[in-house]
């Protein structure tokens, strides 16, 4: 089938502002949008720039806007979006070149929520693992899936309005530790999230949940963190 793909282009070394270019390529309904971008880069225009690595939705490199919605180019097939495709960079982060945006602010927000395991108690005396029941392990399973692709944060109207908002991805990461029975810094993280640019900026708009390629129920996750803040309980 013939695929018509309209791609946002911006070369900071030449262009004052971005524009769109349209390409017509032969493709298959099972092609990934990433395959089409690669094909165009290889055969039509080598300057087309985007990030990618794993090509199957596990590394988080290629969050882009496809027909107006945030998706991973490698996890979106032509059959999901049709043969007329518009591809643009995600919103809310500075465009560096074509589909590449500046990810630094996103990772800075991530670093804000103490995104690492904290447990200062002595290890079990036999040197073995800290025990955790399957139920306690299941409590935070969902948020361990996050690949830090930024699809959620860059679909969030509150983040667009205020880039200081830590954003849903950071809250997802915080949740992964707050609800891990082995971690000891839940209170500190909840404190951080109660700052002005923390969870209060979320107005439960659901965009993030719809955007997540890992199908994490982000709005629910945020609700759980909010509840923990209010009740001081972690169940």
């Amino acid at each position: 089938m013939e695929i018509t793909i309209k791609i946002f282009r911006y070369n900071p070394e030449k262009d004052k502002r971005g524009h769109y270019e349209v390409y017509h390529v032969e493709g298959d309904e099972n092609d990934r949008v990433l395959d089409i971008l690669e094909y165009i880069k290889g055969n039509h225009d080598g300057t087309l720039s985007f990030r990618r690595s794993c090509a199957h939705g596990v590394c988080g490199s290629d969050a882009i806007r496809i027909n107006g919605r945030n998706m991973l180019a490698c996890k979106t097939l032509v059959r999901d979006v049709g043969e007329k495709i518009t591809v643009e960079p995600v919103l809310g982060l500075k465009i560096v070149k074509d589909l590449i945006v500046d990810m630094e602010p996103f990772f800075d927000n991530y670093k804000h929520v103490l995104p690492y395991f904290i447990n200062n108690s002595p290890l079990p005396e036999d040197g073995r693992e800290r025990l955790q029941s399957p139920e306690d392990r299941a409590r935070f399973d969902e948020t361990t899936k996050c690949i830090l692709c930024a699809c959620c944060t860059t679909s969030c109207p509150s983040y667009w309005a205020n880039g200081n908002y830590y954003g849903p991805a950071s809250i997802v990461t915080a949740h992964r530790f707050i609800f891990d029975s082995r971690d000891e810094a839940a209170a500190e993280r909840l404190q951080i999230l109660s700052e002005t640019d923390g969870i209060a900026r979320c107005h439960t708009a659901y965009n993030c949940t719809e955007a997540c390629p890992r199908e994490i129920k982000i709005t629910k996750v945020i609700g759980e963190v909010k509840m923990a803040m209010v009740t001081g309980k972690l169940d």
Binding site: E13, K41, G46, S53, C59, V96, K97, T144, I147
Partner: protein, 597 residues
């Protein structure tokens, strides 16, 4: 234009091995981790099924059994001293990951859960043993995230999205690396006493692969250009179960949970090839079995794929036939809910890419190029060794998939890749810091970056008669077809010739993007140069080894030949020409014998 930095230790690559090395080196030495990707994008994150360690959490297991299984899996080409070391270290390595917060799945009594995997056996009964510690089917993802998080906690320095382009060597010692900062196009000279390469594999030279785009053999190619040899490059692992056509990995954990392979006639065929452990034989054995089924006309609808079946009714039927039981002796019974809970990512991949639901439908699969057993020669401390006497190169280290210790020999056992990068990443980091703390900086030559500049200029100023994308596709096709699962003299020599032709044509490519900022076209062209160099070494080593062993299966020499070939291949680049040498395999306890599963 060029910027300068100085660190005691530089780690190149931020996958599991690089992060572990960075974590350990930075405890005592000023360290930087440089990576062409954001660390969390690294290919370690794609590893699924588990990390092997004889924790014995569910049933009896011992490091000695893990050692023997690894030696046997390697088809006796692995160095047994290094394998013993890795398998003994395995238990503490996995416990350390748990202490760092890694969310392993749990047994009912709260311990780290373990599942069966190909080639993991109880050495007394010969039956599969539960050795693979896992976090659902995203164990690699959890290792990558956990290690990155620990690096942040310990304030490790990162240079993200910097591509290392060259190694600087002065007076036969390590002096640093040259890198380009992708967001600005600026070159950076990074002066260092010790450099650790942890750049991963090169599966992208094959048409059907589970490997990320980033897997272009950068570290191996850079060092090859500097006269460092590459070891056992003919040994490449084809994983039996990649998604048909796409090559995306379907973990061996599927078979660990009871999944079986089914041919086009609806028959389970593995018992024919591996009567004892059947679908859980070593990867090379299973890949060859699939290939044979297809070649003999038993692919599905005459096509080149077979099915992997994890539907509970199929699993339970065969589990009953095999006499598989739960640990308490009760009947093994897999439910749809358990499939969903234990293999969520696999289910997701199949639904997204195939429109197939594995709970009710079979998955079409074919072998996919998966893992580089060979690589930069090292000893068990990650020190790069450059000759048949294992002489270390001062200040140079390698770990993870780019390195060849060799613990995987002719064929890697499932779950040993994650183990390899945690164990040897750690020791490379420790050793590099120890070295740096007693060594002086070598004086940098004034023109450290001139070779890199010339290389990039050449790519920008070629005649433009050739196209990177096209050359790269030609390379992938010929390597997959002619230096793939089954090999023979004629095909390999013609592949070698083809690779050399492509290398010549590569001089005529030109990069159309003349910009500095995120010039990914230039980067891709440079990566193709690495793939071509590495592919030439592979084709040459493969044509040279006149026997079948592990992942290297020759139609014209179908048997293993320990008399002539129980030795490692080394290949050096001497002024553009490749030279072959050998070094002995270290054998401690396990004398080679026939390999039956």
């Amino acid at each position: 234009m060029t910027k300068n930095h100085q660190f005691d230790v530089v780690v190149v690559g931020a996958g599991g091995a690089g992060l572990m090395a960075g974590l350990y080196a930075s405890k005592t030495a000023k360290t930087a981790v440089i990576s062409k990707l954001y660390p969390t994008r690294s290919h370690t994150g794609a590893a699924q099924g588990g990390i092997g360690a004889a924790l014995g959490n569910i049933e009896e297991d011992k490091p000695e059994w893990h050692t023997y299984d690894t030696v046997k899996g390697s088809d006796y080409l692995g160095d047994q001293d290094a394998i013993e070391f890795m398998c003994e270290e395995a238990i503490n390595a996995v416990l350390e990951l748990e202490h760092m917060g890694l969310p392993f799945d749990r047994t009912p009594d709260g311990k780290i859960s373990q599942r069966p995997f190909g080639g993991h056996t109880n050495n007394v009964t010969g039956k599969p043993v539960r050795r693979a510690a896992h976090a659902a089917d995203r164990t690699g993802h959890m290792i990558l995230q956990t290690l990155y998080q620990q690096c942040l906690k310990n304030k490790v320095n990162f240079l993200d999205e910097f591509q290392v382009l060259d190694f600087i060597m002065v007076n036969g010692k390590t002096a640093g690396v040259v890198a380009v900062e992708l967001s600005t196009g600026e070159l950076h000279v990074i002066h260092a006493k010790a450099v650790i390469f942890a750049t991963g594999g090169h599966g992208r030279i094959f048409e059907v692969t589970s490997n990320a785009y980033a897997y272009t053999g950068d570290g191996a190619a850079i060092l090859l250009r500097h006269g460092i040899p590459l070891e056992d490059m003919e040994f490449f692992q084809f994983h039996p179960t990649g998604i048909y056509k796409l090559g995306i990995l379907i973990t061996e954990g599927v078979r660990g949970e009871g999944g079986v392979l089914i041919n086009g006639k609806g028959e389970r065929f593995m018992p024919k090839y591996a009567p004892s452990v059947k679908d859980l034989a070593s990867r090379d054995v299973v890949s060859r079995a699939i290939y044979t089924e297809i070649k003999e006309g038993r692919g599905v609808n005459g096509k080149n794929f077979v099915y992997l079946d994890i539907r509970p009714e199929t699993v339970n039927k065969f589990a009953a036939e095999d006499g598989r039981t739960n640990i308490d002796g009760s009947k093994y019974n897999l439910t749809a809910e358990q499939v969903l809970a234990k293999l969520p990512d696999i289910i997701d991949f199949c639904r997204v890419y195939l429109g197939v639901d594995p709970v009710t439908q079979m998955m079409p699969i074919q072998p996919t190029a998966h893992y580089t057993m060979g690589g930069i020669p090292t000893n068990k401390f990650g020190e790069v060794v450059i000759d048949d006497k294992n002489t270390p190169f001062p200040g140079l280290y390698a770990a993870g998939e780019c390195a060849c210790v060799s613990v995987h020999g002719g064929n890697r056992l499932g779950t040993n890749s994650l183990l390899d990068l945690v164990v040897f990443g750690k020791y490379a980091g420790l050793k590099a810091a120890e070295y740096a703390n007693q060594a002086e900086f070598e004086k940098l030559p004034a023109d450290s970056e001139s070779a890199t500049k010339a290389q990039l200029e050449a790519l920008k100023n070629g005649s433009g008669r050739e196209n990177v994308f096209k050359l790269s596709n030609e390379l992938k096709k010929v390597m997959f077809a002619d230096v793939g699962i089954y090999r023979n003299e004629k095909d390999m020599l013609s592949a070698l010739e083809k690779v050399r032709e492509l290398k010549a044509r590569f001089k005529d490519v030109t990069v159309t993007d003349t910009g500095r900022i995120f010039n990914t076209e230039l980067l891709n062209a440079w990566e193709l140069g690495n793939m071509l160099d590495v592919a030439e070494v592979i084709a040459m080593s493969a044509a040279n080894r006149k026997e079948s062993r592990g992942g290297h299966s020759r139609e014209d020499f179908p048997d293993r030949d320990d008399k002539n070939w129980l030795k490692h291949t080394l290949i050096w680049n001497k002024d553009g020409k490749l030279e072959i040498g050998y070094k002995p395999v270290t054998i401690t306890k396990h004398q080679p014998k026939a390999r039956v599963y």
